[in-house]
Symmetry: C2
Subunit: 337 residues, 2 copies
Amino acid sequence: MGTIYDLAKMTGFSITTVSKALNNYSDVSEKTKAKIVQAAAEMGYLPNAHAQSLSTKRSWTIGVMFSEAHGVGMMHPFFNAIIESFRKATEQQGYDLIFASRNLRNRDMSYLEHFRHRAVDGIVVICSDQMDQHVQELIQSTIPIVVVDMDSADCSVVYSDNITGGTLAINHLHELGHRLIAHIAGDTSTDAGRARIEGYQQAMEQLDLPIPDGYLVNGGFFSGEEGKRAMNELLALPERPTAVFVAGDEMAIGAIEAIHEAGLQIPEDISVVGYDDIYVAKYITPKLTTVRQDTETIGQHAASVLIEQIVNKKRVTTRDVIPVNLMVRQSTGPVPE
Amino acid sequence: MGTIYDLAKMTGFSITTVSKALNNYSDVSEKTKAKIVQAAAEMGYLPNAHAQSLSTKRSWTIGVMFSEAHGVGMMHPFFNAIIESFRKATEQQGYDLIFASRNLRNRDMSYLEHFRHRAVDGIVVICSDQMDQHVQELIQSTIPIVVVDMDSADCSVVYSDNITGGTLAINHLHELGHRLIAHIAGDTSTDAGRARIEGYQQAMEQLDLPIPDGYLVNGGFFSGEEGKRAMNELLALPERPTAVFVAGDEMAIGAIEAIHEAGLQIPEDISVVGYDDIYVAKYITPKLTTVRQDTETIGQHAASVLIEQIVNKKRVTTRDVIPVNLMVRQSTGPVPE
DNA sequence: CATTTCACCGAAAGCGCTTTCGATAAATTT
DNA sequence: AAATTTATCGAAAGCGCTTTCGGTGAAATG
């Protein structure tokens, strides 16, 4: 503890000089700089971030907002991996992350209001719901922002190449001989959900494969429960698919459960390919074939495009589509005879 | 945007009165309060948090530190679930969470220093490594603190009843007829790892079961890889266990993979019980029997004990041990003949 | 030697807010 | 009617820091 005044008294210099010394101004002699820096170290002096922010109008904080749309909060492994990567990248530049709520001492307020209150330097939002009012409000504001996993023309975005992801999965299944390929989709209110459907449809058309009625089933918001339910719908179909492309790994794991409960084998009876490549994907039985999203680069790119805006004090709107790749493991195999 | 000065000018009152009105002081008439509040709403006025903190010495922020010991960061599902619950509880009281790094504009500093710099009101640390220097430094400081998943005599702690968790698992296996029960342990540098070993050993002794050489194998830091490796060691033993208690779910999933690769069935040949009950536990094949940690209550309790300290401006040292319970699913079954 | 330049330092204002304390006018009491 | 209380407001100091701008003495220049 101790303020800049204490340091000034201790060293005999004015607070002006102390501040300059600490900030490495050129109009302070090396000798006094050294004295001051050492004294600071001795007394364990640390500048008060609030005072600094107040006077510089720069807080070195980045506000993060998770879409709480479906109560996943910060628990979804995919979102999480991204934020972790984002955090590493931004902390290297000296920024701290702040998770703001919509509650300011029991006063209800929007995220934008809260972020303005906290005077964050920039905002990262991880959200897949186009319609989220709070997100739209953030996007329309003047604060530097980057949004992940969603598209928008009004701000910088970074997300996976989900269309290619879909085609990758379908082509892989096609090469294994599958012709009856279903898709358990993410909700169409999400960009990711829609793009993967798009990829599925494009690939099927390209391959001249029909999409039978009921082969495109909505799996909702990527949960295990919904994946299971959706798979059961597929299993009840008159012409059962031999392969299914699932728009999320947790959903895929739910689907696998359904398949097993129906007494069927994977991949002998049905092949399944997931999406995301969450941590456990390669450990479960059968090891999950899945489209891997590069959370590492997504986080890094998001960080750099945000920081660039902050540094240049200028909002930009870029679109950064990150490649995905297929991890072939053991949940897919040749089509059954 | 706009400051309190603008509001003052706009309403014709002094900034003193404006501030008081906004903070609901009693020496401002209801009439002028109403005027000011409305004007504030009209111009979208929001108080600057930094200025407030500077003058009140209260920042309404809580610093969170994850033990980065083994590079898991905020990605581990168990830690994550806790933080999510903690976040919900604290945000209801008006606090924001800040994830600080050890990097302050390319100056290296400790977490304590960083938190002091940011002037957080309290700290939550989620860590299992007793020896972490940074954590010890935090604990010895004067800032209100709560640590999760670790024991300490010098601060408030909240963690699961891991000893009971261990005995729960062993007793369950014993009831199923198992006598050859091994344990893939978490590293003994972690409290959780040690306590679960303790529970294992206590239960085995209680049941008069010997622990053969090699039946207690270190699984390191709870990763899938290490679980797999440890399981392979067990499989190579002259007398193979019929059941294994694994100190973490991800580790258990790795162990399951090893068992399957050895051509053995679960639970027919070997039963396995995990620890944590992570999200996917109930979806994988076979559905994992596991000791469930109550992340919800852990987070809530951590929040309330921290906030209590903040409000009372007085550090307390409490120990809050949260009960666990066994989720019996399909990875455990009767001992093979 | 007079003048300009340069290196180094500090006074002071300002960032946006809270809070103490005193001032004033109105209301109440004697 | 005088004295006291009450209700309402504002001046000013302070929170800890940055930054502009001016000042001083020493060194460099003519």
